[in-house]
Symmetry: C2
């Protein structure tokens, strides 16, 4: 029979202002994992989480991960792990989230202070990390508190794993998860991760697939120091000239990756799979709204969804070491580092992608006949992941969505990467579910990131409801 959730739902509504305050405190901590100087803030954010969890009666541990690979002067932020409930008669659900965020600065063009949660009259809560991933992480804490204050028995044992390096490749976490799989995480029956987004703005979804991400640096160096372009222009081979040519050879305007052999690694599209895309609640207008423009590659919904979910893409992110400020500087940069990444899909093995990328970049550079020095390296790689949506973990979540939102969720895949998803699946051997809280217009990783108040509050209800349904769902595989 359907679980009794009204008391819990009512309590979530009653506590909504309090829950928003909790998010405000979290957003105020600039836990940017990519920025060395923010590392103390990342650690502070982990402590904030640990303290809140302890106050809710969870058993909390902050596990150190050692030094940051390649930056041994830096200590990695701790993994915050916690257990709430230890009843052998209940299922145990392992949830994961991250408390670090992408870089953000007012100078990037934010309309509000990125680290001050700002709620507008439409209930949009702006702030770095609001939707990625502090809102969802606090969602689990809020669900616990609402159960306590509503006097409703917590339906499962909850294991929590919150990391502080997700936006920088989850440094050090994989080994930790593998090591704890048969220890701290031993009695997990299923895994749930809330760290992605609805496809559109109205219909919730459950996500069973993710693209991987292989992030590369291409360094070109020559002169011993930056040079004056008047004095040396025309007499020195310029690293920037070589780099922009290499970066310009990777992908075309229409998203076609130019690296030979890469397309052959992609799993062929079956008619079966092809037929699924038509039914997904998604319109090109959703894409245009979240793009803020109509500069899309594909004209129709099916091609767009396939391009996002099941085909690779290559993005050039920027150049380190060149002149990047406003104004004019007549400099010849001595060493420039281009950054690009490839989103990978079944059946691309990361090692094969690396091999093809290094070979191609090397050939492109050789073709230039340059005396400069090239160094192409992999910064980090996370593999793609696809799970079985027929598992009870998914059917329970589907019922929870129907209860909270009144609709059947779409079964979707995502273009983004959450490398630990695959690690959890492989290490625990359990089914992993992605249960998003935010919507497609939340602008994660960009300026004016936000989480709608409705998605936050109803999302807290959803996480709680999911735990009730998953506690009752009959076994399956």
């Amino acid at each position: 029979m359907a679980p009794q959730l009204d008391g819990y739902f009512k309590q979530v509504d009653t506590l909504s202002d309090h829950f928003i305050e909790r998010l405000r405190k979290a957003v105020a901590i600039p836990s940017v994992s990519a920025d060395e100087e923010r590392r103390p803030d990342v650690v502070r954010m982990g402590e904030f989480l640990a303290d809140e969890l302890s106050a809710l009666g969870a058993q909390v541990e902050k596990r150190p991960l050692g030094k940051q690979p390649g930056k041994e002067h830096l200590e990695l932020p701790p993994v915050v792990i916690a257990r709430y409930g230890n009843d052998k008669n209940k299922r145990t659900i392992l949830v994961y989230g991250h408390y670090d965020v992408q870089p953000a600065g007012k100078e990037d063009g934010w309309a509000t202070e990125p680290f001050e949660l700002t709620v507008d009259d439409k209930g949009r809560m702006y702030g770095r990390g609001s939707t990625d991933d502090k809102g969802p992480v606090l969602g689990w804490l809020n669900a616990i508190e609402a159960h306590q204050k509503a006097g409703v028995d917590f339906p499962v044992n909850l294991l929590m794993c919150f990391e502080g390096m997700e936006e920088y490749g989850s440094e050090g976490l994989d080994d930790f998860i593998k090591a704890e799989a048969d220890k701290y995480f031993a009695d997990a029956d299923a895994v749930c991760i809330s760290d992605n987004y609805w496809l559109g703005t109205e219909k919730p979804c459950l996500t069973y697939g993710l693209r991987g991400c292989s992030y590369y640096s291409v360094e070109v160096s020559g002169p011993g120091q930056d040079l004056h372009s008047g004095v040396f222009g025309g007499t020195a081979q310029e690293p920037m000239t070589d780099l922009v040519r290499i970066l310009g050879s990777l992908v075309d305007t229409h998203g076609k990756i130019q690296i030979p052999g890469l397309a052959e690694l992609v799993a062929p599209l079956t008619d079966d799979e092809k037929s699924l895309y038509g039914n997904i609640a998604f319109e090109m207008s959703n894409l245009y709204e979240s793009l803020g423009s109509e500069t899309s590659i594909h004209p129709d919904k099916e091609k767009t969804l396939m391009a996002r979910w099941r085909y690779p893409s290559l993005s050039v992110h920027g150049i380190e070491g060149a002149f990047s400020q406003p104004g004019a500087k007549t400099v010849i940069p001595a060493k420039v580092i281009g950054k690009f990444s490839i989103r990978t899909v079944p059946n691309m093995e990361p090692e094969d992608v690396d091999r093809l990328v290094f070979k191609y970049v090397d050939e492109q550079f050789k073709n230039l006949g340059s005396k400069n020095t090239l160094n192409c390296t992999l910064q980090h790689a996370g593999k793609w992941w696809v799970a079985s949506p027929k598992h009870w973990n998914f059917s329970a979540a589907a019922k929870a969505v129907e209860r909270v939102w009144g609709v059947q969720p779409d079964l979707t895949r995502e273009g983004g990467s959450i490398p630990v998803t695959l690690t959890f699946e492989q290490a625990t051997g359990k089914n992993v579910l992605l249960l998003p809280m935010g919507s497609s217009t939340d602008a994660a990783h960009s300026i004016n990131e936000k989480l709608d108040k409705r998605n936050y509050i109803e999302g807290i209800k959803l996480l709680g409801a999911y735990l009730h349904y998953v506690a009752e769902e009959p076994m399956s595989n």
Copy 2:
């Protein structure tokens, strides 16, 4: 008969520590004209100069130049003009210099604090602006002071014009010079500018030609905001993809500009001119030393000098709006602005260069078939300049060099641009001489800029000696 200079020279040596202190004070003021936030420091540097000049008994004025074009919230720094001596029986020499500097930060890789003059055991004085152009500007002040303290009559009337926007295209100065040509600068008999460098490290030179510089921005925009490359990679046309392709199409590794029609604008090389290059005191080793590498385009001295002096070059300086920090950020930048500049030579008319550049960039973008928006603009342009080295202004300077350094100077041209040189020539109708103080290894515009103590102190003697010889030199044209 040769002027009596021993007393003056001796006094310069006596005051050398005092002159280095004066340079230290100037370098300590971060007068970066390209950086809005440093504008008050630029103004402060102008005031420092004005105060020093007044203390030496010069009549000083700080002339406002109004608002900065395109940035009307910003006041341009004043032009500091001064007169020292007003004797109708003496020649009047107009000297120009600039008190602003290029951007600089420790994070760029400086070995020392860029705005703290740091003298090493080899007498190299490191600091932003030490050689470009604070050292030479203070050289004129030091020459006045040494004459006073040595009790030597100052041989000419000195008119001085020191600006604060040279590193940002000398905004507003051209109109000022034209307006004052028959007023404040009316009785100038010749012009001398010390704002360039020796060709090598040992032999002084007099410079009679400069390349021009046309600086462009290429803006590509599409999405309304930065995007997550996982969510939108493969579905959105990316401005960076378009921009790196455009920047990659401008010039090749060997310095060959790809813009059709540009080469046809260049004055043909005559056998006469060709024969001059062989005698110039310059070795490829000088180039390698100042490059800090052997990544040169040309294998021999002649081709290298021609490429620097009499052929155009194109340099890509960087990209604004993309990810430029260390680390990894999976962002699709919504708006990126590429910066590149072309060094121009006789007979390239800036308007023709603009026309060809805009046409080519436009065509390259059209060929991409992109839905993004392109906007290519000229940031600033300064025309090339070539003067007559047979003028008495040059012969006087040659004698001064021989007196101070014991060698005949090379007659050289430069690859860099000092746009006001041409303006002074056209506005005053007088001969303009470039009399460099620093050497080829001074690293102007790059990290670890320096001025050798020897070049500074002997350079002060040279500026003073030049004024004595120019006072005596018979008329000529």
